[in-house]
């Protein structure tokens, strides 16, 4: 297996946020994630796991260290190049879904496709319908998102994440707002996507979810303190 992403001595601070000056949220993080892995990141609130996810997802920057994604040096890339990685190679799933509530399901699924030049305008709908079928929401395509249940919304978010067949899906507490039955069905769906070759990184507090992953990273106070493989 080849490494999809590699982090070396990554550091991140928020200026003036700590009690005595800067808040050092990530400290010398080094990590390798391989293609096709299903990984959980666990840690207490404020441990730095979401910040790590945002840096990996290219929506936040870091102060020092090295980040290689698919052998590309992320630090040297400009906004336009980073946006291509975000839309094409890395997709997010959030606890609160991050959907555009007043738009229809199909329009939400198409979001990433709007920013991918390689996908033509006419092809977008067909791709969105395919993604919707994969997560079982093909019968609610024209419904407005604000009329859906939490479970349905998360399926829409997953469909949006997989529509462009990314290499990596970053899921930030994807089952945090759902009841246990719905949570398990969402997790099953993510495992199914993973089984088709997509690398998935899940930030979670739930040990049951972590147990179902290939590898679990434990973060405390900005450092990876333990790694447990299945």
């Amino acid at each position: 297996m080849s490494a999809l992403l590699e982090l070396y001595d990554l550091n991140k601070s928020y200026k003036g946020s700590g009690k005595s000056g800067d808040l050092h949220v990530l400290k010398d993080i080094s990590l390798q994630i391989f293609s096709g892995e299903l990984i959980a990141i666990m840690g207490k609130s404020g441990s730095g796991k979401s910040t790590l996810l945002n840096i990996i997802g290219c929506v936040d920057n870091f102060d020092s260290g090295k980040y290689l994604f698919d052998e590309k040096q992320i630090r040297s890339l400009k906004d336009t190049a980073l946006s291509k990685i975000r839309g094409k190679d890395i997709c997010f799933i959030f606890q609160d879904f991050a959907l555009i509530e007043e738009e229809s399901v199909v329009e939400n699924i198409k979001t990433t496709l709007y920013f991918d030049r390689s996908v033509s305008f006419l092809k977008m709908r067909r791709m969105a319908v395919e993604a919707a079928k994969k997560v079982g929401i093909e019968d609610i395509l024209t419904k407005k998102v604000n009329r859906l249940s939490g479970g349905q919304k998360q399926r829409v978010a997953i469909a949006r994440a997989i529509v462009n067949r990314p290499k990596l899906i970053l899921a930030d507490e994807p089952t945090g707002s759902l009841d246990s039955a719905t949570a398990q069905s969402i997790l099953d769906m993510l495992k199914d996507i993973h089984s088709q070759g997509t690398t998935i990184l899940i930030v979670t507090h739930d040990r049951d979810i972590a147990r179902q992953c290939d590898r679990t990273l434990y973060i405390e106070d900005g450092r990876i303190i333990d790694t447990v493989s299945k």
């Binding site: 929506v59 906004d79 946006s83 975000r86 839309g87 959030f94 991050a98 555009i100 979001t111 305008f121």
Partner: protein, 426 residues
């Protein structure tokens, strides 16, 4: 581009009430600016045009109002027998104007139009800076066929080289058919040597009888002749001498070397013949009137413009605040900063163009209705609503720049917040 437009349309349909407000504000902004711009041109136009011309070094003269009972004319200009030799005897006088209006018809085409006859100084004053195809006639030899310049008005009747047989008669309202003057009719062969695409907005015939001219516009009274064909002919003394002062008004031009004292002294000599006032005084009065009108009208303009821009910014702020979360979601899903700005600009430009279209339709209809109205005041005020495509385009671009500037400020301010934070906000 299709995708950008689609996303911009999504923005548009997302904020219907706010968009409607922006459109109304844009229409108001352009509407108010057009009226103010036209008003400014009207108020300052004549002052700016004449301030550096020989009029500033002239005396505007009107004969005393008195009827000549012998020939039935409403004016008694027997004083000319004394006044003209007096002007000729003065070394510091550059010339006396001949700005008489005549009516004329083209004998071969059976069509009538206005004929304006000027001396060289007045002609140069009035046509300074006007574009011309061909040449001006005032420096050409005054031999038959006599050189004329034509303004074609609404129709393209004449071109350079045409020969016109003009049937000319004195048309001053003060020399009416009921009060005829002898031999006021002449047929003249003329050759078109130039075509001008512009006519001075005031018809340049000083044919009103008044004892007071308070502004330069008052000196050159008359209506809007933009649609009428006009022929401009150099003053030919051997033919028009008797009609030269049919309108009883004239401008006496002084040489640049003349002193204040020279002019004042001459004024004291001609007081007995009629009303006279310094051209520079009239220009000052024009400026004063323009300043007054400017202050009066533009206070309203500035207040309205200020309100409009503040409203635009407020609406844009509220609008942008609602759109920011959507933009943040786009960002996380592969939208670059550059692309986000492009989408927002496309959306805002579309919004502005809708407003501009509405404005242009509204102001054109209003201008059309008012200029065609039988109500005199509506007709006169129709100039306020005139927006030719060039001016409208310039105004539109300036408005677009202002709108984008005011529309983008809130967008930039909001974008400073972390996008991931915005995405997580519900």
């Amino acid at each position: 581009m299709m995708k950008t437009i689609r996303l911009a349309v999504k923005f548009f349909s997302k904020q219907k009430a706010a968009n409607l407000l922006v459109i109304i504000i844009v229409v108001l902004m352009l509407y108010v600016t057009t009226i103010a711009y036209n008003q400014y041109n009207q108020i300052f136009g004549s002052y700016m045009y004449f301030k550096d011309t020989p009029i500033s070094q002239s005396i505007y003269f009107m004969g005393r109002e008195a009827a000549n009972t012998e020939n039935g004319s409403l004016i008694d200009n027997s004083y000319l027998d004394d006044l003209l030799p007096l002007t000729e005897s003065q070394n510091n006088i550059a010339g006396v104007s001949s700005i008489c209006a005549f009516s004329a018809s083209d004998t071969s085409r059976d069509s009538g139009f206005g004929l304006y006859m000027y001396d060289k100084i007045t002609a140069n004053t009035l046509y300074n800076g006007f574009s011309l195809q061909g040449e001006w006639p005032w420096d050409l030899p005054l031999l038959s066929p006599y050189p004329v310049v034509v303004y074609n008005g609404a129709e393209s009747r004449y071109k350079v080289g045409d020969v016109i047989e003009l049937d000319i008669y004195a048309a001053s309202p003060l020399v009416s058919i009921n009060r005829p003057v002898a031999d006021r009719h002449v047929i003249l062969s003329c050759k078109v040597v130039g075509i001008t695409d512009k006519v001075y907005p005031f018809a340049i015939s000083a044919n009103t009888k008044s004892n007071f001219a308070d502004t330069v516009a008052g000196m050159f009274s008359g209506g809007d002749s933009e649609k009428a064909t006009c022929v401009f002919l150099p003053y030919i003394d051997s033919i028009f001498h008797d009609y030269r002062f049919a309108s009883d008004t004239m401008l006496i031009y002084f040489k640049d070397s003349s002193t204040e004292e020279d002019i004042r002294q001459f004024q004291s000599q001609i007081n007995k013949y009629g009303y006279n006032v310094r051209g520079s005084e009239i220009l000052q009065a024009t400026k004063k009137e323009a300043d007054y009108q400017f202050r009066k009208n533009f206070f309203v303009f500035y207040t309205l413009s200020g309100l409009v821009l503040v409203s635009l910014m407020t609406v844009s702020f509220l609008n942008a605040k609602r759109l920011t979360r959507t933009i943040a979601i786009y960002y996380v899903n592969g939208c670059s900063n550059y692309k986000a700005i492009r989408i927002y600009l496309t959306y805002f430009t579309g919004l502005y163009l809708l407003g501009f279209g509405l404005y242009y339709a509204a102001i054109s209809i209003q201008h059309l209705l008012m200029s065609g109205s039988s109500n005199f005041m509506d007709n006169v005020r129709s100039y306020l609503y005139a927006a030719d495509p060039k001016t409208a385009a310039a105004l539109g671009l300036a408005g677009l720049a202002a709108s984008i500037l005011f529309g983008m400020i809130p967008f930039w301010l909001i974008r400073r917040k972390s996008r991931i934070q915005l995405v997580k906000e519900n």
